[in-house]
Amino acid sequence: MNRLDFEIIKNIIKDNSRVLDVGCETGKLLKFLNKGKKINGRGLEISQKNVNICLKHGLSVVQGDADKDLVPYLSKSFDFVILSQTLQATHSPEKVLNELVRISKYAIVSFPNFGSWLVRLKLLINGVMPESVAIPHTWYTTPNIHLCTIKDFKKLCNKNSIKIEQNFYLNKNGKKITNPIKKLFNNFFSTSGLFVIKK
């Protein structure tokens, strides 16, 4: 399954960029970016088996943890750092976010929006932790320990003086929301958000 936001990310990244995909899993995004784009791509992935799959595909990937292993990278050593659908699974999202903007010129961050109307409705009506396309886990098995809403994310960026350069509000099919009303009430209508941030 392709992650929802591959196409959008590909359009943001410029040719001949140095790119780090944090939480790159089996390297699908890096491979996707390598097709048709000239990038110098690197990955960071927590699962050893996934790293092996990446190596088989000729990708340069380090086994490591977004929470701890961004520290050694030099400041602004990447043009783009991507954290796709992973922020909510980190132990310290605030620290990770600050590391991302430190080591890159631009960080691309996407995450499931816990403020979407469907999630709100499910909790309101069922009274149990909601599961959705973007959050497909039970509360007791989920790796997503720091779920947030789009509003929460913006507040956190603001608190850390992180600038939001571009924002994309996505529906459940990973398509950009174009309806101006829905765009205005993005925290209510989008399934996930994707932001280009910098510091």
Binding site: Q48, N52, L55, K56, S60, P72, S77
Partner: protein
């Protein structure tokens, strides 16, 4: 016509034989050692597997560890056992000899044909013994570079090695970055820690306190410090495994007994196993070589070679690194591999890293670990594709 076919027949015969290959180096220019001395006219014994391709870009150098030798694959003609890395090197294996030309040389200071304390000093026509110069990992690598030059290979496709072999890999990438496409340092570190040195020193003291060591002149006295060397090996072997591996293999099982003997002969299986390891080692290894190579390892401190340490050493390095560590390795724990990876990342070098989960300890790299094999195989294959063969 007849003559040609006879020559051809002879050539074929030579090729079929498990020939003990060696090369004489330092005949024109000496090897400048780190201790300031020059080494001239010295032998390096080596083996090759597979074929060098037309472009001479498929050569892999395998660097062996402390107790290894040049017989990495196939059958070791001395022990009659499988080569020390025969599980990884061969047709269709991770280091595929159908694809790659694999070279493995006995390291300088070794005891299987390369110049070392056991070999004859060409000047005195007697064994060097302790008059052999104290060598370093960098000297070992410089000798390997001379061999590679002699073989007419400008650029190695990969340099691979575990443990002290990993030191050599890191040194290769540091000394000759332009002559290496990729480097796979396994279960290794960038310097010997106090604990590493401490273990080695106990091993050396065991050898040197054996009366049969004769101040290193045991060959002349027709003696062998077997007890000392075997104790050194027993101690070292404990460090190569993990607590879990020992427990899994032996537990408290008794050796050919149903109850404790209330004595000091072999009661436990683990004792018998270690004694066997020690005895098997003295049959194939030279005690003075053990002293020299452990010393070379103790002296290894890569960051000290340049102001600014590892980061300076690997800045702008064109080498593609694949660093591998094992979870239960307590000789060179993962944190040291991570430090290498972090330094490489800090300078934007091309680095991959995996930590293989295993309870087999430091020696896991010699064993058939599935995920470890996959790492090497995948990395080599993908890079071979990039190189176009």
């Amino acid at each position: 016509m007849l003559r040609i076919s006879v020559v051809f027949f002879l050539l074929k015969k030579i090729k079929m034989k498990n020939s003990k290959k060696f090369i004489l180096l330092g005949t024109k220019k000496p090897l400048k050692l780190d201790n300031g001395k020059n080494l001239r006219n010295f032998k390096i014994a080596y083996q090759t597997y597979g074929n060098l391709n037309k472009n001479k870009n498929n050569a892999i150098l395998i660097c062996h560890a402390l107790s290894g030798d040049q017989y990495a694959a196939g059958q070791n003609p001395i022990t009659k056992k499988a080569g020390w890395w025969s599980k990884a090197i061969g047709p269709n294996l991770p280091i595929d000899t159908k694809k790659f030309f694999v070279i493995c040389s006995n390291i300088l200071g070794g005891c299987l044909g390369s110049a070392g304390p056991k070999e004859l000093n060409p000047l005195t026509k007697k064994s060097y013994n302790m008059s052999f110069p104290v060598i370093t990992i960098r000297d070992i690598v410089n000798a390997q570079k001379m061999l590679i030059d002699e073989l007419g290979i400008k650029k190695l496709f990969s340099v691979i090695g575990g443990s002290a072999g990993g030191f050599q890999v890191l040194q290769w990438a540091a000394s000759y970055p332009e002559n290496v496409v990729s480097a796979i340092p396994i279960a290794t570190s960038f310097r010997h820690s106090a604990q590493n040195i401490a273990f080695h020193e106990v091993g050396r003291q065991a050898i040197m306190s054996d009366p049969d060591w004769c101040n290193g002149n045991y060959i002349d006295k027709k003696k062998r410090p077997e007890k000392g060397l075997s104790v050194a090996r027993m101690l070292a072997h404990i460090t190569y495994l993990s607590e879990e591996a020992f427990q899994r293999k032996f537990g408290r099982n008794l050796q050919n007994k149903i109850s404790l003997a209330y004595g000091f002969k072999t009661d436990f299986q683990v004792e018998s196993y270690l004694k066997h390891q020690g005895l098997a080692f003295v049959d194939r290894f030279d005690a003075n070589s053990y002293l020299y190579i452990t010393r070379a390892m103790d002296y290894f401190d890569l960051p000290s070679q340049k102001k600014g340490g590892l980061k300076k050493i690997y800045k702008n390095s064109p080498v593609k690194f694949c660093v591998i560590s094992f979870t239960s390795d307590w000789v060179y724990p993962t944190k040291y591999s991570k430090e290498i990876v972090d330094s490489l990342n800090a300078v934007g070098a091309d680095v991959s890293f995996v930590e293989i989960k295993t309870d087999k300890g430091h020696d896991a790299f010699l064993l058939d670990e599935k995920e470890f094999n996959e790492t090497i195989k995948g990395f080599l294959k993908a890079n071979a594709n990039k190189e176009g063969f």
